[in-house]
Symmetry: C2
Amino acid sequence: MDFREAVHDDLPAIVALLGDDVLGKDREAAAVDEVYERAFAAVTEDPRNELVVADDGGEIVAALQVTYIPGLGRHGAERALVESVRVRADRRGQGLGAELMTWVVTRAGERGCALVQLTTDKRRADARRFYERLGFVASHEGMKRDL
Amino acid sequence: MDFREAVHDDLPAIVALLGDDVLGKDREAAAVDEVYERAFAAVTEDPRNELVVADDGGEIVAALQVTYIPGLGRHGAERALVESVRVRADRRGQGLGAELMTWVVTRAGERGCALVQLTTDKRRADARRFYERLGFVASHEGMKRDL
């Protein structure tokens, strides 16, 4: 299993992962289109954004996005924000998500980030426990407003 | 009252706002130092990060940070993340925070963001209600792991 930054060839597999999700299925398009292409370019060309994939011998079986956020708070701490964590349905419950998250957290620490943060939908009952096992604390309300 | 992006002269006032806070007082330094200077440069030089201040005739009475995050999720939506919202103690409870947040949300919409998100510490009992009045929904757990 190889954890690495995504390349353009990975885009169809990542879009499939985003759609293959109980919450994602209603808000994602079925295939790569111009909108996803632009978003992929925006993420991968930004030095503070990364798409990370788990590559199992050429198959993309998990993906997530990391954003490194500079800031004044906590005495000028950089933080890493993790978004859109997806593991392929047939690979769930086998420790892959934990391995991938651990890799991301370690990398953020090496970069000098003071914290890693994420929000998880309260409807994903297992997700909170998953992140708690990885040392995350549900100390905050994650609030969203659609525009 | 003028809402605008921060300039370097505003830095001491912003650092004072960060420290003048029940949670911030233990994790901020007393005055501008090299670390804050570097963080200020990192935020203001990044096209996807902004420090916004409320300027009342030359006095900085509120501040926050916005990060615009590109992403594949929600069909390639850009989202705006708001962090480190602070209103000066003597100006709280007068609608200034709501005015500032409304300005930020409107701006994110004009930019084309599909959502605005933030996390608020569960110990800030009033904050959740404040954001709910502004249309935010506490749909997510905000999880953090210190490094």
